[in-house]
Symmetry: C2
Subunit: 101 residues, 2 copies
């Protein structure tokens, strides 16, 4: 499996709108086992995205999905900065599902 832990800083007062865009654009992505969008309670503009894919290739392919492309185009103007991003190799756990229930 392939994973990412990423930090995004929204422009001031744009976090909620950005989260909405991200949630809509990433709702239905083949081979995505987990995709969780969170606020940072300590920093009002910061978003954390944790992802798990069945492979790095699946993640790469998702970037050309129409829904994801649309989210990128809509979301980019609301983003101040892409922060740290860590690649991971998920081994297991709870909440790794290939199909939405």
């Amino acid at each position: 499996m392939y994973g990412l832990i990423g930090k995004i800083t929204a422009k001031t007062d744009q976090r909620d709108d950005l989260i909405k865009i991200l949630l809509e654009g990433t709702a239905d992505m083949p081979d995505c086992l987990s995709y969780i969008i969170s606020k940072d309670p300590e920093n009002e503009d910061t978003i954390w995205v944790t992802e798990v894919w069945d492979s790095k290739e699946s993640h790469k392919a998702s970037l050309s999905l129409p829904s994801v492309q649309e989210a990128i185009n809509k979301g980019r103007p609301l983003i101040a900065e892409f922060g740290e991003q860590t690649e991971t190799e998920p081994i297991g756990g709870h909440g790794l599902i290939s199909e939405e229930i």
Copy 2:
């Protein structure tokens, strides 16, 4: 919801055993919506754990579960260091399930 993104450094050559202990000890935790254990491909002793709970209280309660206590006791000797830990407020996404399927 309440989330955590945490980094653990295992003692040399102990990462696989530690991951095994963590996987066993965290397999069945009430109100845990996501708990994913990953290797860091760049650092051979590093583990990332991303968690989502329905509340902070549920996370706190999990620490006294027998299975979690056992994992802590078994795992602690294999841990060199607890690294950065970020608290998050998960908003939504894919792979947030209250019952294992």
